[in-house]
């Protein structure tokens, strides 16, 4: 079964914002909105759930910290506790200040990189990915709101016209 979508184009982010609010108020399901730049408050207007990426970043940071502690405790204290320049290698705690720079850096390293990789995976981004924008103008100066069509084509078109759309397209979504 092929599903049809209606694409309403806007040329101003303020008009887009009010259109999104009106569409939500009229209980039409917005599938996607394409914008050339971040529109402040758009996610709230669309009712998108807040991101949880900060939470995973915190957990990745904890992993990095644990990894650093485990690594240095194993290498410097357990496996081969040498006397290097009189530094006390009797226990992890005695020698901890010397490990802190590495503990800090690995925490940041894990948190930052794993968070970025998580972002790429969740938003499906990779080098040879095919671009998904419905109209090349959405990367330059146009905003597109995409709404699923289920038999109410005429009604939806006139509704979107009334919200300030400058152009309306109906396409098959694959």
């Amino acid at each position: 079964m092929s599903s049809k979508v209606i694409q309403a184009m806007y040329n101003d982010d303020d008009i887009l914002m009010s259109a999104v609010k009106e569409t939500r108020a009229a209980h039409h399901h917005i599938e996607e909105v394409y914008t050339p730049f971040p529109v402040h408050g758009l996610d709230k207007a669309m009712g998108l759930a807040p991101t949880r990426i900060a939470i995973v970043a915190f957990m990745y940071g904890l992993c990095g910290l644990s990894f650093a502690i485990w690594m240095m405790n194993y290498m410097m204290i357990q496996d081969w506790p040498q006397n290097i320049g009189g530094k006390p290698s009797f226990s992890f705690f005695y020698n901890m200040p010397a490990f802190v720079p590495i503990m800090f850096e690995l925490t940041v390293f894990f948190a930052a990189h794993l968070m970025v990789i998580t972002f790429y995976m969740r938003s499906r981004l990779w080098p040879f990915k095919e671009a998904e924008n419905p109209d090349p103008r959405t990367t330059d100066d146009m905003f597109v709101m995409e709404i699923g069509v289920d038999g109410n084509e005429e009604e939806l078109t006139s509704f979107l016209k009334s919200t300030g759309a400058v152009e309306i397209k109906i396409t098959e979504k694959h």
């Binding site: 900060a54 915190f58 009189g86 200040p97 010397a98 802190v100």
Partner: protein, 448 residues
């Protein structure tokens, strides 16, 4: 306009009275002769924590022995000098406790003044609605700084031995080499200049914002004057703050030096000041006085608390780790003493000033909850009080310290009461909205 509620006024007076009793108790309980001092030490070592004192005395003895060389030959003389040393430490206890409190509350007002000047110089748009709160807090500065100056005068008159370098010891060659900088008249002149400069900016900025309130629409002359004065003050502040930290804090351990000490004091001062601003703001808002302050303003203050707590820890660790790593005897004694004699407050303060705020204030939703900020703020303020205590007490009181004692708590409560009284009295003097500021609209609608 804010009206000072009678309950808060009574509360501040109660704090001052309780504090005064504690301080008086502290002064009455200092030994007046070396024999009494010996008795007090003997009595203390019978306590439950006697064993820890035992260890402390041991390490202390070894350091003294090292300094004096052939200890057996001077056994008699060494014992007598040790007793006199302990006598002076015990006599210093109430003075040192007083100095911690004087410096801590002065530093809250001074840090707020620096934050205020930065907001003006940076033309920040969010913080205008908090300016009158900050001006209220800085009202403590003229009084607090003058009290601190009087304390320095009394120390210079040898009323106490908090600053050991003020007692002329001809055998101390290290000190003789520093005498060009560390001498009482020069110290007092320098201190007077710092204090005068700070008070001048505080009075000038207060006058200019009041005039700006009355200025006609579009007339920003006073705003511009304030901008220029703030930029100039910040230059003056950074130089004097750094020198102040050498003079008023670092000189207590007069054989020790550290280059980032001024920054370290600044970081502690700044985070405590921002916390104070947040607490006073939350209090006033809960009483319904700041209807245009929203949770985005609180969120920003909490972000500053979070960021500067980490900044403070960064400097604390940089200072500690460099000295620990290189382990040069003349520098490391500073931390050896703190580790051996002050372990609980020394490490406890690190937990309160770093681990606690980093975990509580990391979540962005929690930074908008007033009770969360209050809880974190109280821990941060107590943590930085302990930090100031750890900087001042080891050099003046040595192993004879006790944090939970009437003179320490009394001094803290007295100056807390005085601080509350002065700050909230000052808040009644002007409308709580700086309506003449050109950024006031932006600040009222600030949203994050």
């Amino acid at each position: 306009m804010y009206t000072f509620s009678n309950r808060l006024k009574t509360f501040s007076f109660a704090l001052m009275i309780v504090g005064l009793i504690g301080i008086t108790w502290g002064f009455l309980n200092t030994p007046s002769t070396i024999e009494e001092a010996k008795e007090i030490v003997a009595h203390n070592s019978q306590d439950s924590h006697g064993s820890s004192h035992e260890v402390i005395v041991d390490t202390h003895d070894t350091t003294v022995n090292d300094l004096h060389g052939e200890s057996t030959a001077h056994e008699e003389g060494h014992d007598a000098s040790h007793d006199e040393h302990v006598f002076h430490q015990l006599k210093n206890r109430p003075w040192s406790a007083l100095y911690v409190a004087i410096f801590f509350f002065m530093m809250l007002a001074l840090g707020t003044l620096a934050f205020y000047a930065i907001q003006h110089a940076a033309q920040a748009g969010w913080s205008i609605v908090l300016f009158r709160v900050m001006e209220g807090i800085t009202a403590y500065l003229p009084i607090g700084a003058v009290i601190l100056f009087l304390f320095l005068v009394l120390s210079g008159m040898h009323m106490n031995h908090v600053f050991a370098w003020m007692a002329h010891d001809p055998s101390d060659e290290l000190l003789a080499n520093k005498a060009g900088y560390l001498n009482v008249p020069f110290l007092l002149i320098r201190s007077a200049i710092y204090i005068a400069g700070w008070i001048w900016y505080r009075q000038y900025s207060k006058k200019q914002t009041r005039l700006q309130d009355e200025a006609s629409e579009g007339d920003n002359t006073h705003y511009r004057k304030l901008f220029k004065a703030s930029a100039a003050f910040l230059v003056f502040f950074l130089v004097t703050e750094s020198m102040m930290s050498w003079d008023w804090i670092m000189s207590i351990d007069h054989h020790w030096f550290s280059t980032l000490f001024g920054w370290y004091i600044f970081a502690g001062m700044f985070v405590s000041a921002i916390t104070t601003i947040a607490l006073v703001t939350i209090y006033l808002k809960s009483r319904g006085y700041l209807e245009y302050v929203n949770d985005s303003h609180l969120h920003d203050l909490a972000k500053f608390m979070f960021g500067f707590s980490i900044f403070w820890t960064y400097l604390w660790f940089s200072q500690f780790m460099l000295i620990w790593y290189a382990n040069i005897p003349e520098e490391v004694t500073y931390y050896v003493q703190r580790f051996e004699e002050y372990k609980v407050p020394f490490l406890g303060m690190l937990a309160m000033n770093f681990a606690f705020p980093i975990l509580l204030l990391m979540n962005s939703d929690y930074k908008r909850l007033p009770w969360f900020i209050v809880m974190a703020g109280i821990v941060v303020l107590i943590g930085h009080y302990v930090d100031v205590y750890i900087m001042i007490t080891p050099g003046s009181v040595g192993s004879q310290w006790s944090f939970i004692s009437p003179e320490v708590i009394g001094a803290a409560l007295f100056f807390l009461g005085l601080f509350i009284f002065i700050v909230f009295t000052a808040l009644t003097k002007a409308p709580l909205k700086a309506k003449g500021n050109p950024f006031i609209k932006e600040s009222e609608q600030y949203h994050y």
